[in-house]
Structures are given as structure tokens and as C-alpha cells.
């Protein structure tokens, strides 16, 4: 190590020394970091007194952000592997509905309902991937088809079985189940009680729950988001498989020539995206205690937008899980923050469109810089 440091590298006169700014710019997370700082500064200035930054407010936007993060991690890895999945939103609705049908309509134990639903989602993900690989069609079209197929079933099944499009009663069915708390439970409840007792966070002042903290723990949804982000980031940057994900998205043919199992990588990433959607759905069903046929609508686009804000290229081969997570955080904070700041909530979509456009333009510029294209 020290030897290499001693010999001064003979520099090529044709390579310009890169400024620190440009070096930072080619990190995919940069846009996400800047956006996060900007968004937090904005809301700290304009919505500080609105309750956005007390325990309840923080939990509020954290949960929304965590929802985006869970699906963004899957969409991010898939996009880096060079594919899209437009069926994420429908998959969320479908998975939630299957859990409700299995556990409420059929009366299965909830752990079995969850396990079977996860397997079904993985199979659908694998089929998506298999069709894309086999036919060579754009994943955009193939998963657009699954978007409609899954959504159709999500509406058809409960209507046929129960004559309604919302199935409730999952919470009662999940009572005493061992697997359900992993998706619907809360952790660190003791710590939050302690914080409430010591006046660090707000507590209920009257009613049956007087003295209990308003926020009584961290929902498992947030825990799942953090676990998935860390796992996704480590997988992508620190493992052999991560290199294959980049390679499969960067140039599949070149990757095949050196022995990377491109097809397997892509199919596994489709399955992982389906897994993330299923985690989202399960957490949501456990939280609400019901499944609705319209759950997860438009989530696929929100996931893709979060990933793009996070610096990933739509063409694949470049991106970062941390960036995608920051994109999701920006999303959640702005969506809830506009509400706290008393801004008309429809403006959220305007913001979304504008920031997406900026992110894509910035990313294209960054790509040109990395590859030296002009």
C-alpha cells in the first residue's frame, strides 16, 4: 500500500484533473442528498410550528417515506439490472387482497396466508422476468400487461367471493398469530414509553390512554424499509452479485461474453421487486386490518420516480439504493409536508412532475460526464 503511494503516478497530459465538485457529481446519490437537504430546510423554515417535527409529525412522514422506500429499493435494483416493473402497484393490491381472502374468507391461519401470498408474488415476478427474457420484449410492455391482469383479479376475486371490493377483519384474524407482528407490529415500545414519561415526546393528556405516549413505537414498516435499504445497498455495492446487476443492465451481451448469468440476474431482480411489493402490501393490510381492490394504485410510477430522483439511469447499469431511498424520503416529506404547511395537496403532483424532470435532465448530464460522451 505504502509503496504505491510513494511512486508519484505519472499523469497523462490528456486527462484533465477532475475538480472535487465534478467528482462528487458523478456519485449517483448526489441529487438525492441535495434534494433531501433542500426539502428539510424548506419545511424547517416554513412548517416548523405546524407539528411536522414533533413525534407524531415525524412518525407521519416517516411512515409515508418508508412505504415509498420499500418499493423503491426493489424498483431500483431492477432498473439498474436494465428492466422496469410496472406491475408493482397492482402487485400491492393483489397481494393484500390475497392475504385477506385466505385469512378472512377461507379462514386460514394468517401466517399461512402471508406465506402463500409471498410465494404467489414471487412466482408472478419470476413469470414477468421469464417472459421478458424469453421473448426479448421490453419489460415495459410485459409488466404493463401484468399490471392489468393483476388489478383485474384483485377486483374480480373479492366481488365474486364476498360481493364487495374491500375485505376487512384481517386484524381480528391476525390476533395471536406469530408472523403477523413481523409486518404489523411495533418495536421499541418500552423506549417510547420512557421518552413519554420523561417528557421528551408528547403524551395523551386525557381519555383511556392518558399518560401513554402519542407515538408508542416504531412500526415494522419502517424497520422493513431500513432492512431492505441496507440489504439492497450491500448486495449492490459489496458483493459479486451486485457487480452482475450492474453488468446485466450496462450491457447484457458484454456481460454474457465474460460468463455473467444475465438471465438469472434479471429474473431474480423481477422476483425481488415482487417481494418488496408484497412486503409493502402485507404491512399495509396488517396496519389497516383490511384489503381494498384499489390499494397500490400508481405506486409503480412513484417507485420509479423515487429511483430516478435517486440518480439511477432509466437505461440501466447505473444507480444507487441509497439514492433511491433518499428519493423516497423526499417524496414522503414533501407529500406530508405540504399538508402540514397548509398548501393545497394537489400541488404535490405539480412538484412531482417538476422534480422528476429536473432529476432526469441532471442524470443525463451526469451520464455524459461519466462516459465522456459529448
Amino acid at each position: 500500500m505504502s509503496e504505491t503511494a510513494q511512486t508519484p503516478p505519472t499523469s497523462d497530459e490528456r486527462i484533465k484533473e477532475m475538480s472535487g465538485f465534478r467528482k462528487a457529481l458523478i456519485r449517483p446519490e448526489l441529487g438525492g442528498i441535495c434534494g433531501t437537504v433542500l426539502v428539510f430546510t424548506f419545511f424547517l423554515l416554513f412548517a416548523f410550528d405546524s407539528g411536522m417535527f414533533n413525534s407524531q409529525g415525524v412518525l407521519n412522514w416517516s411512515v409515508v417515506s418508508a412505504q415509498f422506500m420499500i418499493i423503491a429499493v426493489g424498483a431500483c435494483l431492477l432498473m439498474i439490472a436494465g428492466e422496469f416493473d410496472l406491475s408493482v402497484g397492482s402487485m400491492i393490491g393483489f397481494a393484500g387482497m390475497m392475504i385477506a381472502i385466505f385469512s378472512v374468507t377461507y379462514g386460514w391461519p394468517v401466517w399461512l396466508a402471508i406465506t402463500v401470498t409471498f410465494l404467489m408474488c414471487l412466482v408472478v415476478g419470476a413469470i414477468n422476468g421469464y417472459i421478458v427474457i424469453r421473448t426479448g420484449l421490453p419489460s415495459f410492455i410485459v409488466t404493463l400487461a401484468s399490471l392489468f391482469i393483476l388489478r383485474g383479479f384483485t377486483i374480480y376475486l373479492p366481488q365474486t367471493l364476498e360481493n364487495k371490493t374491500i375485505i376487512g377483519g384481517v386484524r381480528d384474524a391476525a390476533e395471536g398469530d406469530w408472523l403477523a407482528p413481523i409486518f404489523g407490529g411495533k418495536i421499541l415500545t418500552g423506549f417510547f414509553q420512557w421518552m413519554g414519561d420523561n417528557g421528551l415526546i408528547g403524551t395523551f393528556e386525557r381519555g383511556t390512554r392518558a399518560g401513554e405516549p402519542v407515538v408508542d413505537g416504531i412500526p415494522m414498516l419502517i424497520v422493513w424499509a431500513i432492512i431492505l435499504i441496507i440489504a439492497g445497498h450491500v448486495l449492490l455495492t459489496k458483493t459479486r452479485f451486485g457487480n452482475w446487476i450492474f453488468a446485466a443492465g450496462g450491457d447484457p451481451q458484454a456481460a454474457r461474453y465474460v460468463g455473467v448469468p444475465v438471465n438469472r440476474v434479471k429474473i431474480l431482480m423481477f422476483m425481488f421487486t415482487a417481494f418488496c411489493a408484497c412486503v409493502f402490501a402485507t404491512c399495509q393490510v396488517m396496519e389497516f386490518g383490511s384489503a381494498g381492490a384499489d390499494r397500490g394504485l400508481l405506486k409503480e410510477f412513484e417507485a420509479i420516480i423515487a429511483v430516478v430522483i435517486g440518480g439511477a439511469l432509466l437505461t440501466g447499469g447505473y444507480g444507487s439504493v441509497i439514492g433511491a431511498a433518499l428519493g423516497a424520503l423526499i417524496f414522503g416529506v414533501v407529500q406530508q409536508g405540504l399538508f402540514f404547511a397548509g398548501v393545497e395537496s394537489s400541488l404535490f403532483r405539480v412538484f412531482l412532475g417538476v422534480i422528476l424532470l429536473f432529476a432526469v435532465i441532471l442524470n443525463t448530464y451526469i451520464r455524459r460526464m461519466i462516459t465522456g460522451e459529448r
Partner: protein, 264 residues
């Protein structure tokens, strides 16, 4: 006598035929390559060069004929078999992924692994160090191992691909028109790299349609024309003009050349 073992070809292609439906792409081609030699495969477009090297690298199965590798007949089912045996192919444009760093490209498909608590992780330090060393020995100055391949010139990319193949134990290195899209300076860099590789005792199969490039580094020259060999010549036994004539099928080019003033 040890000349016997030295003069054993590392790969011998005997009477290779390849048919695609009713099209006969190769009609009985025989070529042998010795360790440490640069065997140039010349031919015009459509002569069957690509089909021939794809047969050698396991992409196509020959319809007829034998491949003898290190003295044993070989049957490659897919490219991974031939890579495992030590036959590496560097394709003209499909060698590198521009958005990935040089180090990650270098080790793509062969990532070094370091186990931490039983979990296999990509050994980045090792990969970065080896990449810098290999690039230095090939005469490429990198800003760092994280530099994206997209910032390298075409010639440098070819060199990285060649260095990669050599590092991972190639005994036979097939180069598919490595110089056809390059400028003068870059071409001479790649030719110098070929020379370095050959001196390490690796057999190089150099496909080109540029007679000048072939003569610069080649030890022997085989000319393909319409799916057949027109014979193999030793260095020094053949002039550039003769090679050029053989490639183009003789007569027609002679008349063409007259009108072009011998510039082709």
C-alpha cells in the same frame, strides 16, 4: 528433443465445416496455432472469419471437422467451456461496459471474493490493486480504479480487455478485428500489446482485414476466402501485395488497383 513439445500446436482446427441451413459458411478450413505465435487470420467481409473464430470459441458447433486443443479433441458446448479451457475472445465492440469502473469491468464475471463472517463479499481492495498494476504494465495511466471505462479511448478499452483475458489465464487469445475502428496511434498501442502478450507465450489469433496491421505483428498468415483457406504463409515468405491479392481473390482487385493507383 524438446523442440517436439515446443512445436506442438496448442489448438488445431482440422477441416472445419459449418453450414447454416443451406448456406455453407465454412467449407473445410484447417488452421493450427502455436504457443507464443501471432497467427493472423485475414479475409474480406463474408470470407468466414467470424464464423471460424466463433467455432473456435465455442459459440458455434462445427458441422464437420475436429478441434484439437492441447493434443486432445475438444467439444465445446458453449462459450463458457472454451473460456474455462483457456480460450478467450476479445470482441471488437462488446468487450466493456462504459458506465462501470475499470476495476469492476476487469473482474466482471470473475469477481474476487473475501469472506466476512462467512458471507462472501466482493473484495474491492484486491480488485482495485490488481487492476491498477495490470493497467500500468500495459501502459495505461488511470486516474484511479474507479474511473469509468466510458472515459477510455477505443484502443485503451481493447487493451483493458486483452489484459483481462491474459490475467485470467488465457492460453489462446482471439482478437476479433481489434484495430478496425481505431486511429493510427491507438492501433499501434494495440499492436504493441499483442506483441507483449505473444512474448508471454500466449497464442494469439488476430483477425483483421488490414494487411499492414497483420504484417506488423504476425508470425504466420492464413487467408480465408469464400469459406476456404487459401493457404498459410510464414513471415517473410510473402509480400503485402501477395497477401492483399489473396484476400480479394486476385484478378478483380488487380484491375481495380490499377485504376486506384495502388493505394488500397
Amino acid at each position: 528433443m524438446n523442440t517436439r513439445s515446443e512445436h506442438q500446436p496448442i489448438i488445431e482446427m482440422r477441416d472445419i465445416e459449418k453450414h447454416f441451413g443451406s448456406v455453407i459458411a465454412l467449407a473445410g478450413v484447417s488452421v493450427d496455432v502455436y504457443p507464443g505465435e501471432c497467427h493472423c487470420l485475414l479475409g474480406d467481409n463474408g470470407a468466414g472469419k467470424s464464423t471460424f473464430i466463433k467455432t473456435m470459441s465455442g459459440v458455434h458447433k462445427p458441422t464437420h471437422g475436429e478441434i484439437i486443443f492441447e493434443g486432445r479433441p475438444m467439444n465445446f458446448d458453449d462459450p463458457r467451456d472454451s473460456i474455462a479451457a483457456g480460450i478467450a475472445t476479445v470482441y471488437q465492440d462488446l468487450a466493456m461496459i462504459p458506465l462501470m469502473s475499470v476495476a469492476r469491468n476487469f473482474f466482471m464475471g470473475n469477481e474476487p471474493i473475501r469472506k466476512i463472517a462467512g458471507i462472501p463479499f466482493y473484495d474491492k481492495d484486491h480488485a482495485d490493486r490488481i487492476t491498477m498494476e495490470e493497467m500500468k504494465s500495459m501502459g495505461i495511466n488511470l486516474r484511479g480504479p474507479d474511473q469509468a471505462v466510458g472515459t477510455l479511448s477505443g484502443g485503451e478499452r481493447q487493451t483493458v480487455a486483452i489484459a483481462r483475458a491474459v490475467h485470467f489465464g488465457a492460453k489462446v487469445l482471439i482478437l476479433d478485428e481489434p484495430t478496425s475502428a481505431l486511429g493510427v496511434r491507438q492501433t499501434s498501442n494495440v499492436l504493441a500489446t499483442i506483441d507483449k502478450v505473444r512474448k508471454q507465450g500466449i497464442a494469439v489469433v488476430f483477425i483483421t482485414h488490414n494487411v499492414r496491421h497483420a504484417l506488423a505483428v504476425g508470425d504466420r498468415f492464413t487467408v480465408l476466402n469464400r469459406g476456404k483457406t487459401l493457404g498459410t504463409a510464414q513471415r517473410g515468405q510473402i509480400t503485402p501485395d501477395e497477401l492483399q491479392d489473396m484476400m480479394a481473390g486476385g484478378q478483380e482487385l488487380a484491375t481495380l488497383e490499377g485504376s486506384l493507383g495502388g493505394t488500397v
